[in-house]
Structure formats: structure tokens, C-alpha cells
């Protein structure tokens, strides 16, 4: 995998708008053929990064290569090989959706008519409606169909489903999976965590214009804490003393704690000695990963204390939105604000 050429290679990217620093040394590498999740809160610099990758904006410093080419100097060559869905799709009020799809696809260099019609069908889009009559979700469908009906080898999707309903979200996930199977590379910017978890091979988390973490979800989970809940025959003693175990709450036979990725083995052994009746462990969700990086911001916004619940709610909503609930509830909020100091150490 690592021998594959990189579809997107970005290092030290900087971009300022007046006094605002949108990108502050951003790094990103997307391997050919993977679905790469690009995560960050609003204003973290996701859209700006994509626009630099498209050559719509010029970076102040740093290097960017898209499909091996300089996106500013050879924008059109790059564009012929990629398709882009903007976060805020604006259509021409007096052009129909079908006309907009054809326009965008043909300007990109051709359209697979059969695939276009199939996608219109799957997304349940009426292509005869005028641009001004579409809702946000339908405008997004127009851009998604135009992008996916092309044979572009790279798809840049900027929060493509923020206006879609749950059914359409599922269709979207299917379509992205098909694109991946067809060998295409996808950069999927989002703050819908469940979606990225379902689709992405690797993830980059950015914050304030800087990459704070990048890797596979497994790697990231390994580097963070797992939450364990157990019921034992005898009270599990000695857990607090173990290195890497945090936030132990003992309630008779029930115990609950968080443990660093590399220290799970020792902790489970202690439980085994106490006689395990039941054991539930939750891998850290992206929600928790995000909270580790953004926890201090939430705290600054007066979110102290309730973060765990809030996180769980958001997580549940996201899972519901995706039409499936995978049951990994995280109603504890172990680290949240507290662990924010550890953020950013991993790359």
C-alpha cells in the first residue's frame, strides 16, 4: 500500500485571508485508491484546503501535488482527472438540474449517460426542475450526480451529504463504495463522524489549519483509550495501581474504567482474577477522538461537564442519520476536556 503513488500530497500548506490564518502548515497525504476522511469542525480549513487542491486559490507557502501535478499551475489538467462537490452547491436559477449536470460533466470532458441516468434514478432527483426550485439537498444531489457520473480518478467531496436525508445518505455511501471498488480515490471532508467511520480507510483530523492526527482508525484507536465496563464476582482490586488505567469507578461488583490502548492486557488480567461475569468494552469512537482534540474549545464555549452526554447524543444522531445503529454507545465521557492536553502528539 505504501508503495502506491500518493493521489494528494500536501505539506506545510499556509493560507491567510487578511489577518485570518485559514491554513497554518497543513499536511495531508491521500493514497491512490483509498477513501480518506478529512475531519474537522467548521472553520478548521477543510474547504480552503480543497480549494487550494483545485487551484481555485493559491497557497501562501507549502507544497501541494494533486495526481502528481501542481494544482495551481496545471489546474485544468488536474481538473480533467477529478470531480468536485462543493460544500455549498449553488446552481443557476433558470437552468434545470439536468442541464447543470450535463454542463458540469461535459465541461469536465464527457459524461457516461447511462450512469448519469442511473444515478439520477437512485438519488430520486427530478432533473427537469429549475435550479431555484431545488432545496439544499437536491442541489447537492445535482453536484453529486455530476461528479460521480464522470470517470474522474479522484473525487473531492466537501461535506457532500449535509443536506441529504437518511435514505439518500445510504445511497451516497453505496455510491462512494462503488467508486472505491472501481479504483477511484476519494477525499471526503466531513464532520459527520459516523459517515467517515463507515467509509474511510484512513482519516486526517485537522484543527485551526493544521493536521493534528492522521492514520487508520485502528491506529488512532490504539493510541487512545478504550472504555471497559465489567461485572465481577469479587470486587476487582488493584486496577487503580495499574499504569495506563484511568477514571476507575467501583460500585460493588460493577467496575468501570478507561485504559490506554497498549495497557488493555494487564487490566483485563486483573478482571479475570476477580471472576468476570460480564464484560463490555467500547473502542473509542471518532467522537471521542474529536473531543480529545477539540475538548478545550468546547470547554471555552461553556460546555464543561456535560460533554459526554452531548457527545453521545451527537453520536447517536449521526448513527441514526446513517440508517443504522451499531450499538457502540459512549455515555461516559471519560476524557473529553481533561485529556485535551495530550492532543496533537501523534502523527
Amino acid at each position: 500500500m505504501t508503495q502506491e503513488p500518493l493521489a494528494i500530497e500536501v505539506s506545510g500548506l499556509q493560507k491567510s485571508f487578511g489577518a485570518t490564518r485559514a491554513l497554518d502548515g497543513l499536511d495531508l497525504s491521500v493514497r491512490t485508491g483509498e477513501v480518506h476522511g478529512f475531519l474537522g469542525p467548521n472553520g478548521a480549513g477543510k474547504s480552503t484546503t480543497l480549494r487550494v487542491l483545485l487551484g481555485l486559490m493559491r497557497s501562501d507557502a507549502g507544497a501541494a501535488r494533486v495526481l502528481g501535478l501542481d494544482p495551481w499551475g496545471r489546474a485544468v489538467e488536474v481538473h480533467r482527472r477529478l470531480a468536485y462537490v462543493p460544500g455549498d452547491v449553488e446552481l443557476w436559477p433558470n437552468l434545470s438540474g439536468g442541464e447543470a449536470i450535463d454542463l458540469l460533466s461535459r465541461l469536465r470532458g464527457g459524461i457516461d449517460r447511462r450512469r448519469r441516468d442511473e444515478l439520477i434514478d437512485r438519488f430520486d432527483l427530478d432533473p427537469r426542475k429549475k435550479g431555484r426550485a431545488y432545496s439544499k439537498g437536491n442541489r447537492q444531489k445535482v453536484a453529486i450526480v455530476a461528479a460521480l457520473a464522470s470517470d474522474a480518478e479522484l473525487l473531492l467531496l466537501d461535506e457532500p451529504t449535509s443536506g441529504l436525508d437518511p435514505l439518500m445518505e445510504v445511497v451516497f455511501q453505496d455510491v462512494v463504495r462503488e467508486a472505491k471498488e472501481a479504483g477511484r480515490t476519494v477525499l471526503l471532508s466531513s464532520h459527520i463522524l459516523a459517515q467517515v467511520e463507515k467509509l474511510a480507510d484512513r482519516v486526517s483530523i485537522i484543527r485551526r489549519g493544521r493536521t493534528v492526527q492522521s492514520g487508520t482508525l485502528a491506529e488512532m484507536r490504539h493510541l487512545t483509550r478504550t472504555t471497559v465496563e465489567a461485572e465481577t464476582e469479587r470486587p476487582a482490586a488493584g486496577l487503580e495501581a495499574l499504569p495506563g488505567v484511568h477514571d476507575v469507578t467501583l460500585d460493588g461488583a460493577r467496575v468501570r474504567f478507561a485504559v490506554d490502548g497498549g495497557r488493555l492486557d494487564a487490566a483485563v488480567r486483573v478482571l479475570g482474577e476477580a471472576g468476570v461475569r460480564s464484560l463490555v468494552s467500547h473502542p473509542p469512537t471518532l467522537e471521542e477522538l474529536m473531543l480529545r482534540h477539540y475538548g478545550d474549545e468546547l470547554a471555552a464555549n461553556g460546555h464543561q461537564g456535560a460533554d459526554g452526554h452531548q457527545g453521545a447524543d451527537a453520536r447517536t444522531d449521526a448513527a441514526d442519520a446513517a440508517g443504522t445503529a451499531d450499538g457502540t454507545g459512549t455515555a461516559d465521557g471519560t476524557d473529553g476536556t481533561g485529556a485535551a492536553g495530550e492532543a496533537g502528539a501523534v502523527r
Binding site: 483545485l54 481555485l56 485544468v76 452547491v89 436559477p93 455530476a146
Partner: protein, 552 residues
């Protein structure tokens, strides 16, 4: 969208408290609308006021003897002249005041109508189309509050205009322009304004697009103007079918009649009530007329940069094209009477003599061509700046991330603007030429006048060039491109009459155009203007290739 399942009963059947509730929040929204239009409205009012005061002053200078005014009255008696001004009764005692009312009330009625229509559609249909209305309507705001606030704003603007005009004109101290007449004069404008505000209150319910709503209302204004033009030249009953005809029949400075203005107030109230009733019958965001479906696929022609630009600009192209053709035809139709009309006005004669030309008609045609070229220039600047509108509207972003270069995309819009300039001048010249040939029987004039119109094209291209440079290098300052047509108008039209120094004309691109048919053809300035335009456009392209795209 935001309508509830149990739709409230129509207003007619509603109880008084329910009716009052439907207007909840009107005052707040009106203050908000005033805040939003705090620059726009004063600019409108000031422009209308200064235009009127300048005209009143120029009459006092131009027709400075009773004989000159009597001659003017005689020449105004032709049907063509009456069609462009107002009813014949004004000519009975052609004082400065009567002259002002005769020539301005109808024409200004169109402009005030335009202002009122734009106020109403901007605060009603545009709010709905952009989705902001949903946000507002979901708060404690009655279903009629937005329309009521928009109409309130239009009424306030028109009252302010009436008072400004009354005070301004009375303050000029021109003989026969007395305070009582000035108050009637100002009120004619307000009366026309509120009628067309009422019309817009109806059209805003009919279509779901702002442009459609404004366009329908503007068509009503146009129809009202044509009705009165037809009525004033022939059967006066037609004028009585037009609100503009009513305002002209107040005869400010002549009879000072108020009751025709009451007709306007009544019509405005009836229109407004109709608007409220229609609004209660539709959903927020929807129009009474269902939106038509478009094509499911794009035609070949659409999917090229020029094809797309043409498609996006076809409304603008058709509107200006038709307008310029009619404008040309109107000037052409009076060219036969021109010797009588202007023969007694010394200043115009001197200005025309300076232009040269074998006959007064030729000189007049050359002078009118400048006005026509300025209107075409407005089109050219609008068409070129369409690229900017596409960019700041966020629609350029998706296009420019496809296989189309920035140059090709911008070139599409520029091509439409540049070729559009040719089409505009051709249509205006054709209208002018055909009407002039019909009026004078001299068919050779048609070709001459088309050529006289077309020589202005390179000068129009330089205006596109200026817009291009701004777009490429200072995209946030593209509005500055409007300085070019504005300056060209002030210098090219007023400058000739008010005798500005020579150099002021040299700064305007139109100042270098050979003044056909009065002067001989000169290819050198044409070539130079074309080269300047090309240089400016290339500079604009270079700037656009270097800068960031403005995104939302």
C-alpha cells in the same frame, strides 16, 4: 414549507383580532427594511431629485424668452413629440412649470415606478426566493407583515420624494414654478410610485422568482406608458386607462388638480388588498403560477463557455435589444420635425453646429447616437460584470473545478458582452434608420444611421475592457466600472449642450468616435479604441489568472 396543515381561513372571513395578528411585526420589519436600504433609497431619491432640478434649471436657461417657449409649444404639438411627453393641454400655456410637467411627469413616472417595484420585490419575493423569509416568518411575525412592511417602505420613499421635489422645485425660484404647483408636481411622482408598488405587490405573489415578479411589474409600467403615449396622440380615453396618464392629468403648474391623483391612491389600495388576498392563498416560497419544468438534459449549445454565457444573459440581451430598438425608433420618428423643434433653441443649435453636418437632422442624429451608445454601454458593463455576479454567487466555483480554463470561462462572458455591443448598436441603428426613413421618405438614411450607430462599438468595447481590468485585479471594486457610462453620459450628452471644455470629452471613449452622419468617417480612432480595448481585456485576463477565486 412553513404552512401548517390547518390553513387559517382567508383574510376576508377572518375576525378582526386574527386580521391584526396577520400584521404582527410590521413595524419592526419596516424599521429593518429602512436599515437595509439606508444607502440604496437615499441614492434613488437624490438621483431623481437632482435630475429634476437640473432639468428645470436647464429649461430656464435654454428657453429664456416667451418666444422660445411659444415656438417650443408649437413644435411639441406633433404626434411624435406628444407621444414622448404628455397631453396637449399643457401646450395651452407653456410656462417653465408647464414645460417641466409636460416633459417630465410621464417619463419620471416610469423611473419612480421602477424604484417602487424594486423596493417591493426586494423585500418580499427576493426574501422568499433566498429563503430568508422562512427565517423571518418562523418568528413572531404575521403572514402579511413582510408585504405590509415592503409597501410601507415604498409609500415612505414616495412621500419623501414628493416632499423633496416640492421643496426643491419651489426653492429654485423659477418663474411660474410656485410652491402650490410644486407640491402637486411632487405628488404626481408619489402617486405613480404607489400604484406601481401596488402592482408589484400582486406580481410578487404570481411568480416564484424575483426577476419574474419585477419583470411582470415592469411590463405593466411599460404598458401604462404606451397606453398614455397612444392616448395623448389620439384617443384620450386610452390615457385614462393608464396610471401615468392620470398623474399627467393633474396638470401641475397649470391647473393643479388633485383628484386624478386620488384615482392613483385608490388603484394602489385596490392592488395592495389584492396582493394580500393572493398572498393568503399560497405557500411561502411558492408562486401562484406553477414554475415551469426545464429540460432534463442540456443541449449541445449550452455546454460551451459562450453557450452558457449566452443562455445566462439572454434575458438581458433581449431586454436591452428591444429597448434600444424602440429608443432608436422613437428618435427616428421625430427626426423629420427636428428643424421646427430645435430651430429656436440657441444653445442646442450652437451645440449642433459644433458637431457639423449638412442638415440639422444629421447633427441631431449624431447627438442622439451618443445617448444610444451610453445605453448600450450600460448593457456592455452589465454583461461583462455578469462574470463577477457568477463568481460571488458561488456558481463559478463548480465550473472552474472542471476541465474549463479560467480564460475560457471569462472569455465566454466577455464574448457575449463584446458581440452584444455590436447587436445593440445594430438594433438601435436599425430602429432609428427605419423610423427615420419612414418619417422623411429618405430611404438612404437607414444605412447611414446603422453605420452611425456601429462606429460606437469600439468605444463600447473599451468600457468592457475597464470592467475586465477591475474584475481581474480589483474584483471587489467592479462597481467602479459604472463610472465609464456615467461619465460618458455627463460629458457626451450634457457636455455638448452645457459646453464643457474640450479635454473632458477626450477622457471619455465616446469622445473619440467620429460623429456620423454629421462628420466624415475616420478609421484611426476606431483602430486605436479597439487596440485599447484589447489591451484592457488582456490585462483583465492576466489578473484573473493570478488571483484567488472568491468563494462563499
Amino acid at each position: 414549507m412553513t404552512t401548517t396543515a390547518t390553513r387559517p381561513a382567508p383574510v376576508t372571513a377572518a375576525s378582526a383580532p386574527a386580521l391584526r395578528a396577520a400584521f404582527t411585526g410590521t413595524g419592526t420589519l419596516l424599521r429593518f427594511a429602512l436599515r437595509r436600504d439606508r444607502v440604496r433609497l437615499p441614492v434613488w431619491l437624490l438621483a431623481l431629485l437632482t435630475g429634476t432640478l437640473a432639468t428645470a434649471n436647464s429649461y430656464a436657461t435654454l428657453y429664456d424668452s416667451p418666444e422660445a417657449r411659444a415656438t417650443a409649444a408649437r413644435t411639441m404639438a406633433t404626434p411624435a413629440a406628444l407621444a414622448m411627453t404628455g397631453p396637449r393641454h399643457y401646450l395651452d400655456d407653456y410656462t417653465y412649470g408647464a414645460m417641466l410637467s409636460h416633459e417630465m411627469v410621464g417619463f419620471m413616472g416610469v423611473l419612480v415606478g421602477l424604484m417602487s417595484v424594486l423596493i417591493v420585490t426586494r423585500h418580499t419575493r427576493d426574501e422568499e426566493e433566498t429563503g430568508r423569509a422562512e427565517l423571518i416568518r418562523s418568528t413572531v411575525v404575521g403572514r402579511h407583515a413582510q408585504l405590509a412592511a415592503a409597501l410601507g417602505l415604498a409609500v415612505l420613499a414616495n412621500l419623501a420624494l414628493a416632499l423633496l421635489l416640492a421643496a426643491g422645485l419651489a426653492g429654485l425660484g423659477i418663474e411660474s414654478v410656485d410652491p402650490a404647483g410644486s407640491l402637486v408636481y411632487g405628488s404626481t411622482h408619489a402617486a405613480a410610485g404607489v400604484v406601481f408598488a401596488g402592482v408589484a405587490a400582486i406580481t410578487a405573489q404570481i411568480t416564484s422568482s424575483t426577476r419574474g415578479a419585477s419583470g411582470l411589474a415592469l411590463a405593466v409600467i411599460g404598458a401604462a406608458y404606451i397606453l398614455r403615449a397612444a392616448g395623448d396622440t389620439g384617443n384620450e380615453a386610452l390615457s385614462w386607462a393608464s396610471p401615468i396618464g392620470w398623474t399627467q392629468r393633474a396638470y401641475p403648474y397649470l391647473d393643479d388638480r388633485w383628484w386624478p391623483l386620488l384615482l392613483c391612491v385608490g388603484a394602489a389600495a385596490a392592488c395592495a388588498v389584492t396582493g394580500f388576498l393572493l398572498a393568503a392563498r399560497r405557500d411561502v416560497g411558492a408562486g401562484l403560477r406553477p414554475t415551469r419544468l426545464g429540460r432534463a438534459t442540456a443541449s449541445r449549445a449550452l455546454t460551451s463557455p459562450v453557450g452558457l454565457a449566452l443562455r445566462l444573459q439572454r434575458g438581458l440581451l433581449a431586454g436591452f435589444g428591444a429597448g434600444l430598438f424602440v429608443m432608436g425608433a422613437m428618435y427616428g420618428s421625430i427626426i423629420g420635425d427636428i428643424e421646427d423643434m430645435l430651430g429656436s433653441v440657441d444653445q442646442i443649435q450652437e451645440a449642433l453646429a459644433e458637431i457639423g453636418g449638412a442638415t440639422l437632422a444629421e447633427s441631431f442624429a449624431a447627438m442622439v447616437m451618443v445617448v444610444i451608445a451610453v445605453v448600450s454601454m450600460i448593457y456592455v458593463v452589465m454583461a461583462t460584470l455578469r462574470a463577477r455576479a457568477e463568481e460571488s454567487g458561488g456558481r463559478a466555483e463548480s465550473l472552474l473545478s472542471t476541465g474549463i480554463t479560467r480564460t475560457a470561462w471569462l472569455g465566454g462572458h466577455l464574448t457575449v458582452a463584446l458581440l452584444g455591443a455590436v447587436v445593440m448598436q445594430l438594433l438601435a441603428g436599425l430602429g432609428f434608420g427605419l423610423a427615420a426613413a419612414a418619417a422623411t421618405g429618405d430611404h438612404a438614411m437607414t444605412g447611414d444611421l446603422i453605420a452611425a450607430a456601429l462606429v460606437h462599438v469600439p468605444a463600447l468595447w473599451t468600457a468592457a475592457g475597464v470592467a475586465m481590468v477591475l474584475f481581474g485585479w480589483l474584483p471587489r471594486a467592479t462597481a467602479l466600472a459604472w463610472v465609464v457610462p456615467l461619465y460618458a453620459f455627463v460629458v457626451g450628452y450634457l457636455g455638448q449642450i452645457l459646453r464643457f471644455p474640450e479635454w473632458t470629452a477626450d477622457v471619455s471613449p465616446l469622445g473619440h468616435v467620429p460623429q456620423l452622419p454629421a462628420a466624415a468617417m475616420d478609421w484611426t480612432p476606431m483602430a486605436v479604441l479597439t487596440l485599447v480595448a484589447a489591451g484592457l481585456c488582456l490585462t483583465g485576463f492576466a489578473g484573473f489568472r493570478r488571483r484567488d477565486l472568491d468563494t462563499k
